[in-house]
């Protein structure tokens, strides 16, 4: 089946059974998209994710929220914080680290989630706020999921 580009569904409307979501590992009280949508649509999973952040998770760690809703969410710790200083007295979105995302994808493969679930991955980098190079992220997703036995959707308009 492998990796397919999906420019129609969002992370909330995707019919895939597992959504892979990169997050930061800073247990603070502010967040950016998509977590606001996740909080509204999958409150139990959001709560679980926050608890796990409080307990301490590290780079490339993954954990799965499942059972409370029809889909499962696989969280990848891929950024150190939500926002960073922009050098001009303001704040800008912290970038997701490619190395951390790579660790997370490797862990997904190692645990066999790509064999157990069909997966949706948001195309990091399509929005400026993602602070991630979209081409590098696409190549990374393609490297790990192009031969996946189940369908993996790469959500462009996530």
């Amino acid at each position: 089946m492998g990796l397919t580009v999906d420019d129609y569904h969002t992370i909330i409307t995707t019919p895939r059974k597992m959504i892979v979501l990169p997050i930061h590992n800073s247990p603070v009280n502010f967040y950016r998209y998509p977590l606001s949508d996740i909080e509204l649509s999958y409150p139990m999973y959001y709560s679980h994710m926050r608890r796990m952040l409080d307990k301490g998770v590290d780079r490339g760690d993954i954990f799965v929220s499942e059972g409370a809703h029809e889909v499962s969410i696989c969280w990848i710790v891929a950024a150190r914080s939500v926002h960073v200083d922009d050098g001009e007295g303001g704040r800008k979105a912290a970038r997701f680290y490619t190395g951390w995302l790579k660790d997370g994808f490797e862990e997904i493969i190692r645990r066999g989630y790509h064999e157990k679930y069909d997966i949706a991955i948001p195309a990091l980098g399509v929005y400026e706020d993602d602070a991630t190079n979209p081409v590098i992220f696409w190549k990374l997703a393609r490297k790990y999921f192009k031969d996946s036995p189940n369908r993996v959707d790469f959500l462009l308009n996530w």
Binding site: H48, M52, K55
Partner: protein, 267 residues
């Protein structure tokens, strides 16, 4: 990554699991509270190891994590004591797959031995095992195994069991939920280790009421019917006082309840 088993408090089943893991070259460590191995009661408040993918936690849990949270990290959890555990509530005919030792066998694709089956039956549902409800395990097998266990500390354990039974017969009858149970709270301390054997081997319904050092009171009901125990867990226990914790498994025919303020059955 090679898996590593994290084992809970010491009991016959856990000892056997450790020996089996040893003999099959599987790695294991003990869950710890501080520097020492957890006891059975503190097995769910372990402070180490830190939960990580690749571990299999057996009848224990880290104090900062729920079992569900361990599972979300990709950790295997083997247990049958609480609601949500794989083996919880499974009937006696599925005693082996329900027990922790059976779950370890299934995870590692081992063939069960008769000894493993006896331990599983005795651990998961001792009374039903004695009643012959566990397929492949005879009443006499369980009794021999249990007596062998006691023989480390007692010269003639069967004699002790029989004497304990005589003591239990002398205990007062208590009417609860329309059924009669023996109140074994007053049985002499020297017979206490044999009370579960007496209850299960002779099929005696029992209640044990004990006071704890922190001022709480513990009630332990065994061998009543599944329906009575389920009723006690859901409604009756709350009529007897202020409940701190209620636990147990009606299918396995035991329920415990800890009260911060105990009034008694007639309150």
């Amino acid at each position: 990554m090679k898996r590593i088993f994290v084992l809970g408090g010491f009991d016959t089943e856990m000892k056997e699991i450790a020996e089996l893991l040893d003999s099959h070259g599987e790695r294991y460590i003990f869950a710890k509270e501080g520097d020492s191995r957890v006891s059975r009661t503190a097995a769910y408040d372990a402070t180490s190891p830190k939960p990580a993918y690749g571990q299999v936690w057996v009848e224990c849990c880290h104090k900062d994590y729920s079992k569900t949270e361990l599972v979300s990290l990709g950790i295997e959890v083997i247990d049958h004591h609480s609601e949500g555990d794989y083996g919880y509530g499974l009937p006696a005919k599925q005693f082996f797959e329900a027990s922790s030792i059976g779950q370890v066998h299934n995870l590692l694709n081992w063939e069960p031995t008769i000894r493993s089956k006896i331990i599983a039956a005795a651990d998961h549902c001792l009374m039903l095992g004695y009643m012959g409800k566990c397929p492949g395990v005879r009443r006499i097998d369980i009794l021999s195994f249990r007596l062998e266990f006691y023989s480390n500390r007692y010269k003639d354990p069967m004699k002790w069991v029989q004497e304990a039974h005589e003591e239990v017969k002398k205990c007062a009858d208590l009417e609860i939920m329309g059924t009669t149970v023996k109140d074994i709270s007053t049985v002499a301390k020297r017979y206490k280790p044999f009370l579960s054997e007496v209850g299960c081997y002779y099929g005696v319904k029992t209640i044990n009421i004990s006071s704890k050092e922190d001022g709480s009171t513990k009630i332990f009901l065994s061998n009543l019917s599944k329906e009575h125990l389920a009723r006690f867990m859901t409604t009756t226990c709350y009529q007897w006082g202020v409940v701190k914790k209620v636990y147990g498994d009606p299918t396995r025919q035991f329920v415990g309840c800890i009260y911060s303020d105990y009034h008694g059955p007639n309150s």
